[in-house]
Symmetry: D2
Subunit: 323 residues, 4 copies
Amino acid sequence: MGTGDADEDLIRSLIARLSNWGRFGADDQRGTLNHIGPEQILAAKDCIRSGSVVSMTLPYDSAGPQIGGIGRNNPQLFMLASGTDYLAGRQDPLPGAWGAARGMGYADDYLVMPTQVGTQWDSLAHVFFDGKMYNGRSASEVGTQGAAHNGIENYHAKLVTRGVLLDIPRLLDVDCLEPGTAITIEHLDAACERQGVQVGTGDALVVRTGFLEQRRRDWGDFGRGGDAPGLSLHTLPWLHEHEVAAVATDTWGVEVRPNEVAFFQPFHIVGLTHMGLAIGEIFDLEAIADASAADGQYDFFFSADPLPLTGGIGSPVSALAIR
Amino acid sequence: MGTGDADEDLIRSLIARLSNWGRFGADDQRGTLNHIGPEQILAAKDCIRSGSVVSMTLPYDSAGPQIGGIGRNNPQLFMLASGTDYLAGRQDPLPGAWGAARGMGYADDYLVMPTQVGTQWDSLAHVFFDGKMYNGRSASEVGTQGAAHNGIENYHAKLVTRGVLLDIPRLLDVDCLEPGTAITIEHLDAACERQGVQVGTGDALVVRTGFLEQRRRDWGDFGRGGDAPGLSLHTLPWLHEHEVAAVATDTWGVEVRPNEVAFFQPFHIVGLTHMGLAIGEIFDLEAIADASAADGQYDFFFSADPLPLTGGIGSPVSALAIR
Amino acid sequence: MGTGDADEDLIRSLIARLSNWGRFGADDQRGTLNHIGPEQILAAKDCIRSGSVVSMTLPYDSAGPQIGGIGRNNPQLFMLASGTDYLAGRQDPLPGAWGAARGMGYADDYLVMPTQVGTQWDSLAHVFFDGKMYNGRSASEVGTQGAAHNGIENYHAKLVTRGVLLDIPRLLDVDCLEPGTAITIEHLDAACERQGVQVGTGDALVVRTGFLEQRRRDWGDFGRGGDAPGLSLHTLPWLHEHEVAAVATDTWGVEVRPNEVAFFQPFHIVGLTHMGLAIGEIFDLEAIADASAADGQYDFFFSADPLPLTGGIGSPVSALAIR
Amino acid sequence: MGTGDADEDLIRSLIARLSNWGRFGADDQRGTLNHIGPEQILAAKDCIRSGSVVSMTLPYDSAGPQIGGIGRNNPQLFMLASGTDYLAGRQDPLPGAWGAARGMGYADDYLVMPTQVGTQWDSLAHVFFDGKMYNGRSASEVGTQGAAHNGIENYHAKLVTRGVLLDIPRLLDVDCLEPGTAITIEHLDAACERQGVQVGTGDALVVRTGFLEQRRRDWGDFGRGGDAPGLSLHTLPWLHEHEVAAVATDTWGVEVRPNEVAFFQPFHIVGLTHMGLAIGEIFDLEAIADASAADGQYDFFFSADPLPLTGGIGSPVSALAIR
């Protein structure tokens, strides 16, 4: 932890240097996803080689990593109609004068989940600094009815691009980075070199720490708030320079915890709020890491588009690597 | 409406002829999605021509089509933390001893929605007949904890394939098919011919009726239970023969309403329960229809993969046509 | 509707005259419920004459009056465990290694409801004026985590007192007051006289309009926001003078709608926010009115205590007249 | 634990001896609450001596005893409107063309809670045995839409009677009964004698173990499923003979855990399902025990009426001892 003053100087200096406010238009609500265009999608297409699909989404269920902190419970499903009701004769006649069922029955359910509890994208309304969110909009726009601007619906139909996996534990020949380990620019460059892959404009950078795999059966404080490996604040210039569209990791908060400076989640303050960087969390990277190591291909068609939840602060996502 | 006996004969005859129970293995939970393999994904890849992305998902919000019948309300977001709280000074100190916020704040939200209220896939646990669901499993497996088999998680990472739009109102030179209008095999063949497109093994067939667009600003009974245009029960042999993987429409229930026989949702009984056909509903097809008409390309890379909601009866989805 | 300026003068004059801020202590969070003490409870005891109990609570279910405006849906129950599951054999073995069920099963449920949708008390955190709530506390204390002060838990174990029903339609010999009809001081005095009852310090005043009964089977806009009969803003001095502890009616908002001045819900602004008056809404008064008319006894032991929902803005309630 | 066969004999013998099925009518849904009539209410009235009110309800909030087992989370409140929104200027104009706020604002909330997580009544639809619930009704009546019979609404306006506290730890001169300690008939008789109180027809028997107080700041497995002190199965004949209307304790399940026989919750099987005994759980008895010890009065007016949640399996409750 720094002294505070130096930390504030650092944060404000990074903001001054890396901010994308206004860069994509005064009304922009998509941030670095603007780096994705037809060229990137056509490049992504070329990454489909064998026609296989690998999921990077953790199942949404009661076995998830949450322990209830700050209101974040694991996903729940409630049933509006069930097969057991139907077998017990409680669905005939059908509701609404739909006629006699004559052997037919149905099940229906209700999804109840905080958007931040599993594999997810943060929206640009997720983090504020000095009263503002991305592109200078006031935090006052995010009230009980959701985000009037910068909601997750702005990411919808935009999160398809080329994805690149950088496998840091494999680079370092460990199973898992330890909590508190910061991934640096040097790690990113070394992984690119070792894997024989380049990161370029509009790419989704997928960074593996191994942490989710290690905790999969005994989550502990993995879900929220605990210490974790993750990206150093100091990688943001690199991400900015490479014009990365999105970054996703297998941890709850992308950035290393404890934080490197005396600000809470400074990578989010600079990256999400000021660069408008799309941030993905709790991605399950075990399968794609295995597949990539097996054939040496670390790029793929990255299909991880969020639901258009109007005003949403985040969204669960089916995150796929199509190869 | 038929006489009942003749209707039952028809239904049972279709089931006998079209059932896929056992076809993909005794333990199969994916049905016709088994028609999608590497070959189909590589064919889908070839449909990406200009690198554009078109959404087929209706926004999930309070402006949606639901009116509360059988427990189905429009999606709601609840906030666990807000920008207005933050501005009012209610987020410093941060929860959980995370340290002083020093200007940083955050928003967080909670998604509450029935899975069947907007653009969605039905799982193979959604409809029962004679006590059973797809592949002969008992309806008893679908209780208050969700579906022990055939849940929507089985579709995850499987719903990427070539998509083909058949635009029936454009074929018939009308804005919208009227409620009660059944789309027949003849319509499907004529649309393929007019559009210069083929439907083949593993394709996702996307059929436009125009109904969602017509009702978009004044939904009425669009959401659930009302009369609607849709696929005739008698198209199922065609879908079976063409080995379609999935079918999606811009109506609440895919099939024509009122039903053509004295069974409730017979297309679901035969198609979903017995063929194991993936069924998508409330797809918003206005933009893709316009794009397709403009350039004459009616096939695309269909990326519409559901969330892995363990035991889920359905799932909201980001449905994309990548072209 | 007034001109605005005169209305504002009126409102501010009423506030100046009737405010109880500071009256019950700088830290008070109970407002007029402070008028209830042992003397009132012993007086209430004397109203129990025959040992009968009459409910004034409308059932909480999907048949309730709500139509979904401003997020207010009718109450829902979701099942965590059901009898149909149990019959289908899905509860053996029991969860958590509780042992073999041996014939035993259970049901469990989940209550999901806005607190303002049925019979309910408003808390003193429900309405703000000029940035403040009751007793001068800032509205900033009411954020996504609920009310830091003035929450409904402050009413818990305080809402037991003598109740007095004033039956205004019976006074006027009509079934129901028409929407827009303001109940005046003259009405209240006339009803007291005709019914032979006095209203005094610490009483819960229960005022019947007949509106709920008239709309019971076809709610229309009864639930929220529609026109309604109700108490005139000008009865507040009478309520203040009589030291009423609480007032409850059979309408959604207690006060007459449309409002009598160009402020939204001025009775709430003056009465709830400044007097700290306990306000009860959507009470079902048909049965107590019939019972009272039958035996001529209009007072009763009023047992209508809210749940201690920490930080809650309102609470559903079992409201009983014990006579 | 017994051998199984002997246990089954015991359970079936107790059922044969104590069952109230049919006793209160073939359609009865209230069980032992039928013991409460005008005589009991008038006797309860006489217990109001000083005009004081003591709460027996634990606050409903995130500090509650639940740890999420079998879907039971602590209560949550979600805000539909907040003071912080209002201060940030997000509530003017008001929704629904209600006019200009002119300084007025409001908060609104949403209650989300399992009914069994805090102070609560079980309904007679909560426990099944041999396929049936109270009064011989089939468990099939309890499906995803709740209980078609025996729902908690049948208790509404019935749970007002004389209450009697039996303070077992005070009898035994300990702070708290240890988990696994069974309260016997001898304990009940001794407490009555020492406290100078009688238990009679229609009384609500409130039995203190001290367990809630001991665990209040560190719940552990208090909430559900853990070992606990509680009533012995063998007290049921005593409760039957004394014609008790209801029994409530300061534990999660009233009966001693581990169970005394090889059936899960046998007190519920015999008492709730067959006697139709009203069972209250997680009552907070610290304050009433202190008050009773101070003045030696162990009976009171017991006002603990549940919400009429149509079809509900349980209900939160404001449980009051009025003395």
